[in-house]
Structures are given as structure tokens and as C-alpha cells.
């Protein structure tokens, strides 16, 4: 249990470290990356249920970001595999309910359910990788800044920044509490709801006291309700050009059957 706790904490830190690298992907305006990621996800998700071949070319986007952004592939893939299995859990029912044979691959009839399940898993891979790559190439404060500039209320983005700043502090505090509880619990005693309630209650009270101290400290340093950024990233011509290119390629991948064309072309050659 504590292991899981440590691991999650570790992952937060790793992604934060990755986001501080300095590559051409990292240097882009965060707004560009947020918008491009959203466009990518919406396009991927817009394919009809039984689509597999049309989704494959989209792998080009994460592959390019992995390469250009110098992001370790296995680290991200491991995280994708570890995340919430909800999509797989729901998708696996497709083969159960949809048993109509649809395609034959070397003599074996494959039902529509398996095709749509594969499609769901492919979507899952593409969308999850793109989100993790977004945060690995854009710092969290950068994303908050982008959200602010894209019109999110300032109050929301300010407290999002606070959340991130104190996340590590409070997770460490929670980790200390769990460790202390586990060291005092034998044969599963003391892991029950009663102890949990007082742990969480204490953590909350400490949190409120901490918030008060932070507020006073910030007031004395001239806090007026808004967070300021020192580093200003500008939306340059390259950002605009890149966004346009991404949109054009996404549209082309969405509209044209690239895989089918390549396949037919190859068969014609042989």
C-alpha cells in the first residue's frame, strides 16, 4: 500500500522533471500544445466504432513528440498501461454483445465486437499518450498559464497553481501519516474507518492552518488575488504555423484512407 503511494508520488515528480527539459517541443507556447492536443483527441475520437486502419496513421503524432521532445518512451507507455482500466473494462463487453462476423483474417472470422474492442483500445492508447506527452513537454504552471490566457477564470487558475505547489508538501505529509499508522498496526488492526477518519480530519485541520499561514505570508508580500508569471512565453508565428500544419494533417488523416491506399499500392507493385 505504501508502495503504491510512493510510486504515484514518484511519477508526479518524474513528469515534472521531464517538463523542464529544453527542446523545440518544450519551447512552444503552452497554448499551442493544449489546443493541438485537444484537436488531436477530438479527431481520434471522431472515427466510427469499427475503425482500426484509419487510426494507425495518428501514431505519427506521439512518435514525433517522443523523438523531438526527447521523452523516454517506456516511461510513458508504462504509465498508460497502469492507468485506470475503465476503458478496457467497458470495451471488453463489445465482443460479448456483438458476435456478428465481420472480417476474415487468414480464414478466421473476426466478430464486429473484437474489431470495435481493438478500436477502443487503440483510441485509449492514442488519447492517453497524448495527454501524458502534453504534461511531459509543458510544465503544469505553463498549462495553467495557457488556460488563463485562453479565457479560464483567473480565480480558478490561481488556485490550480496553489494546488500544484502544495501537492508535494501535502502528499508527503499524508505519506508520513500512513507510514506512522502502518508501523503501529499489527495484523491489520488500526486500518479501519475510525482511524482513517481521525487521520483525514487531522490532515484537514493542519491544511487549513497551513492555508492561513500561507495567506498571511503572501499578504505581507503584496498578494492582491492574482498570480503573476515571470517567464512570458509569446505566441509566435511558428506556433501559428505549427497549429495550422497539425490541423491540416489531422484533417487529411481523418478524411483519407491512408492505410488502405498504401496497402493497395503495395499489392499492385507485387
Amino acid at each position: 500500500m505504501t508502495m503504491a503511494f510512493d510510486r504515484e508520488y514518484f511519477h508526479l515528480g518524474v513528469l515534472d522533471l521531464l517538463s523542464r527539459r529544453d527542446t523545440c517541443v518544450h519551447r512552444l507556447d503552452p497554448r499551442t500544445k493544449v489546443i493541438a492536443t485537444l484537436l488531436f483527441i477530438v479527431t481520434v475520437v471522431s472515427f466510427p466504432k469499427y475503425e482500426i486502419m484509419g487510426l494507425l496513421p495518428f501514431l505519427l503524432f506521439p512518435v514525433l513528440v517522443f523523438g523531438l521532445g526527447d521523452i523516454p518512451v517506456w516511461l510513458i507507455l508504462k504509465k498508460v498501461l497502469l492507468v485506470s482500466p475503465f476503458a478496457a473494462f467497458i470495451g471488453i463487453f463489445n465482443p460479448v454483445f456483438d458476435t456478428e462476423p465481420m472480417v476474415t483474417v487468414s480464414g478466421i472470422a473476426v466478430s464486429g465486437g473484437w474489431i470495435s474492442f481493438l478500436s477502443v483500445m487503440l483510441r485509449f492508447l492514442l488519447t492517453m499518450t497524448s495527454v501524458l506527452l502534453l504534461i511531459a513537454t509543458t510544465s503544469f504552471p505553463g498549462i495553467c498559464h495557457a488556460l488563463r490566457r485562453l479565457g479560464m477564470p483567473e480565480l480558478f487558475t490561481s488556485q490550480l497553481l496553489f494546488l500544484y505547489r502544495y501537492l508535494f508538501v501535502l502528499v508527503e505529509e499524508g505519506m508520513r501519516m500512513v507510514r506512522a499508522r502502518d508501523m503501529r498496526s499489527f495484523r491489520g488492526k488500526g486500518q479501519d474507518v475510525r482511524v482513517f477518519v481521525s487521520l483525514v480530519g487531522t490532515l484537514f485541520l493542519r491544511t487549513m492552518e497551513r492555508a492561513e499561514r500561507i495567506y498571511h505570508a503572501m499578504l505581507s508580500r503584496g498578494f492582491t488575488g492574482s498570480m503573476r508569471f515571470v517567464r512570458t512565453v509569446r505566441f509566435r508565428a511558428t506556433d501559428l504555423a505549427l497549429l495550422a500544419a497539425v490541423a491540416a494533417v489531422l484533417y487529411a488523416f481523418r478524411v483519407y484512407d491512408i492505410v488502405g491506399a498504401v496497402g493497395r499500392q503495395t499489392e499492385r507493385m507485387f
Binding site: M1, V45, R165
Partner: protein, 350 residues
């Protein structure tokens, strides 16, 4: 029960995202009007607290399995519904980005399912009325259990509705509902109990925190409930209208969103023209020539496969064979590009 990008259609995803963004804007404005900027650090640090609290688990009596805190209702009681909603949205944003819980498009659905119901239905319509007269611990327990269960059931129902409307899953509506609701009833009972415990703990140690929440919004309950109900009805009608219209006409998702932007008829005309132009270009460059390809490979494979009961029309087996060839080639090409880019980078760095 995080909704996932992979199960959403663009129409459902963007509708939920729009609803969530609207609620975030509404809550931010409300808070700006009513409270001072002290709330900003309090909310931020409380979000971090919820994160830490969700990582602490406990054993559920009698089952031996472990549970953890969801927290929407708890925050609504401790901070008030508007601040609680924003904190829930923030926590889910961090989870979506760092743990890929659900994804970016699904964030809208997740914040809606886990934030709106506890903060704007369960809290004002159930918890507040039940604990209005006196805040005895028995009343708090009942109110939080009923409140949390209601919030979670609505959330689970919402997940089912979004999944079914998106049409990526084959699960029938009722089957899915019967899977989700009982599980979330059990989770809700446990979480309601825990929530009551934490509220009681805070009330005993620092009663002024809870009192300040109740006093900071001195609006009479009736007005608030009415207002919330009206906002809700509006949002529900808009969302429901959009969704049902979408579900009934059921066009392709991307087309739907393009139609939304450009207007319906213009698009079909324009697209037709663009498509015909591009088609002729294709014919000329012969990258995407005619639909079928010459007999040998595909036809043989089709004959070998020889399965009569396939719903695949004649000639199509060839298409699927070429599709598989094409898939491997495209995958190979994508991987090659990846390796080349990586090698170039290495070289550049020296």
C-alpha cells in the same frame, strides 16, 4: 469510475466539456462576488489535501477490501458548494494530466459526474435541508450518507448515459446500469459514513470552520434551491436537447462539429466540391487510384478464406487483406520516422 476519452464521441465529449466550463465560470464569478482572496490559497491547499487524503486507504469492515475517499460531498460541506466544485475540478484536472485518469476530453464528463451532482444537487437539496435545524451527529450521518449516495448514483447514471450516447460500447443501457448502480450504492454507503466521520471530527475540533461556511452565504435556503434548480433545468434542457438531437440524427462526430461551426448546408456543398477536386487530383497522381485492385493476391486469399456467411460483401475480403498489409507498412513507417528523429537528435546533441 473515471470516464475515458476512448469511450466518448466528440459530440458528447464537447457538450460535457462546455457544461463543465460554464459551471467553472459560474462558480468563479460567484466566489469573486462573495468572498475575499483568502479563498484562493484555502481552495488550492484543500485540493492538495484531497489528493493526499485519496491516497490514504482504509479497510472496509466485513469485506477486507480497501476503499478511499471521493470527497465531493465532504468538500461541499467544508468549503461551500462553489468553492468545492472548483476544487474538485482542479483535483480531477491534475489527475487527468499526471495520471491520465480519463483524458483531456473526458475531463469535462468527469468533473460533471463527480463535481456537479454532489456540490449542486446532493448538498443544497439533501444535506442542507436535513441538517438545517440542528447539527447533531446522527443527523449529519444520515444527511451525508443520503447525500453521498445520491450524488454517486447520479454520477454513475451519468457515466452510463454518456457511454451509451457515445455509441462506442456495445453494452446495453439497462445491463450497464445494473452493473454500475449497485456498485456505487455500496461505495456511496461507505463514503457517506466516512464523510460524516470527518465532518464530525472537524466540527468537534474547529466548529468555526463549518459555521463560517454556513454564514458566508447567508442567502435563505429557499432562494438558493430555486436558483440552483433553475440553472440546472436550463443546463439540462440545453444538454439534453443537443444530445438527443445528436443521438437521433446520429451524424458522424467530426462532421457534426464542423456543421456546428460552418452551418449545415454550406458544408455539404463545400465539402462535395473539395472532395471532387481532391478526388480528381488523386486520380491523376494515382496514389489512391480505383477502389479495387488486381485479382491475384487478394482474390486468392479471399478464396482460401472462403467463408460464405460473412456479411462482408464480395470483393471486400481483398480490401481487408490490403488493409492489413497497409497497416503494417504504415506502422513500420511511423516507427522508422521515430527512430530517425531520435537518431538525429542524438547526433545534434553530440
Amino acid at each position: 469510475m473515471h470516464m475515458a476519452d476512448a469511450l466518448l464521441s466528440p459530440a458528447v465529449g464537447t457538450t460535457m466539456l462546455a457544461g463543465t466550463l460554464g459551471t467553472v465560470a459560474y462558480c468563479s464569478r460567484k466566489l469573486r462576488e462573495n468572498v475575499d482572496e483568502k479563498m484562493i490559497p484555502v481552495m488550492g491547499v484543500t485540493g492538495a489535501f484531497l489528493f493526499a487524503a485519496q491516497m490514504i486507504n482504509f479497510t472496509i469492515p466485513g469485506t477486507g477490501s480497501s476503499g478511499h475517499l471521493g470527497g465531493g460531498m465532504l468538500l461541499a460541506v467544508l468549503l461551500g458548494p462553489h468553492a468545492a466544485f472548483l476544487v474538485m475540478a482542479s483535483v480531477l484536472t491534475v489527475q487527468a494530466l499526471f495520471f491520465a485518469d480519463g483524458g483531456l476530453l473526458a475531463l469535462g464528463s468527469n468533473v460533471w459526474n463527480l463535481g456537479v451532482y454532489p456540490c449542486f444537487i446532493a448538498y443544497p437539496l439533501i444535506y442542507r435541508p436535513l441538517t438545517r435545524n440542528d447539527g447533531s451527529s446522527g443527523k449529519i450521518t444520515i444527511a451525508s450518507i443520503v447525500g453521498v449516495v445520491t450524488g454517486l448514483q447520479l454520477g454513475a447514471f451519468s457515466v452510463v448515459l454518456q457511454t451509451v450516447l457515445s455509441g462506442r460500447s456495445e453494452l446495453p443501457f439497462v445491463t450497464f446500469l445494473l452493473m454500475m448502480l449497485p456498485i456505487h450504492l455500496a461505495i456511496g454507503l461507505v463514503e457517506g459514513f466516512v464523510t460524516a466521520g470527518v465532518i464530525g471530527y472537524v466540527k468537534a475540533a474547529r466548529p468555526e470552520i463549518l459555521e463560517s461556511v454556513e454564514q458566508s452565504r447567508p442567502l435563505p435556503a429557499r432562494v438558493r434551491v430555486k436558483r440552483v434548480a433553475i440553472v440546472f433545468l436550463g443546463v439540462a434542457i440545453v444538454a439534453g436537447g443537443t444530445l438527443s438531437w445528436f443521438a437521433s440524427s446520429n451524424p458522424d462526430g467530426l462532421e457534426w462539429s464542423i456543421e456546428k461551426v460552418m452551418g449545415k448546408q454550406e458544408l455539404s456543398k463545400q465539402e462535395g466540391r473539395v472532395a471532387s477536386v481532391l478526388e480528381s487530383v488523386q486520380e491523376k497522381t494515382a496514389l489512391l487510384p480505383d477502389y479495387d485492385f488486381r485479382k491475384p493476391a487478394g482474390a486468392q486469399e479471399g478464396a482460401e478464406a472462403g467463408e460464405p456467411e460473412s456479411s462482408w460483401p464480395a470483393g471486400k475480403p481483398g480490401r481487408s487483406a490490403s488493409g492489413i498489409v497497409g497497416s503494417f507498412l504504415v506502422l513500420g513507417a511511423v516507427l522508422c520516422i521515430g527512430f530517425v528523429v531520435k537518431a538525429l537528435r542524438r547526433k545534434q546533441e553530440g
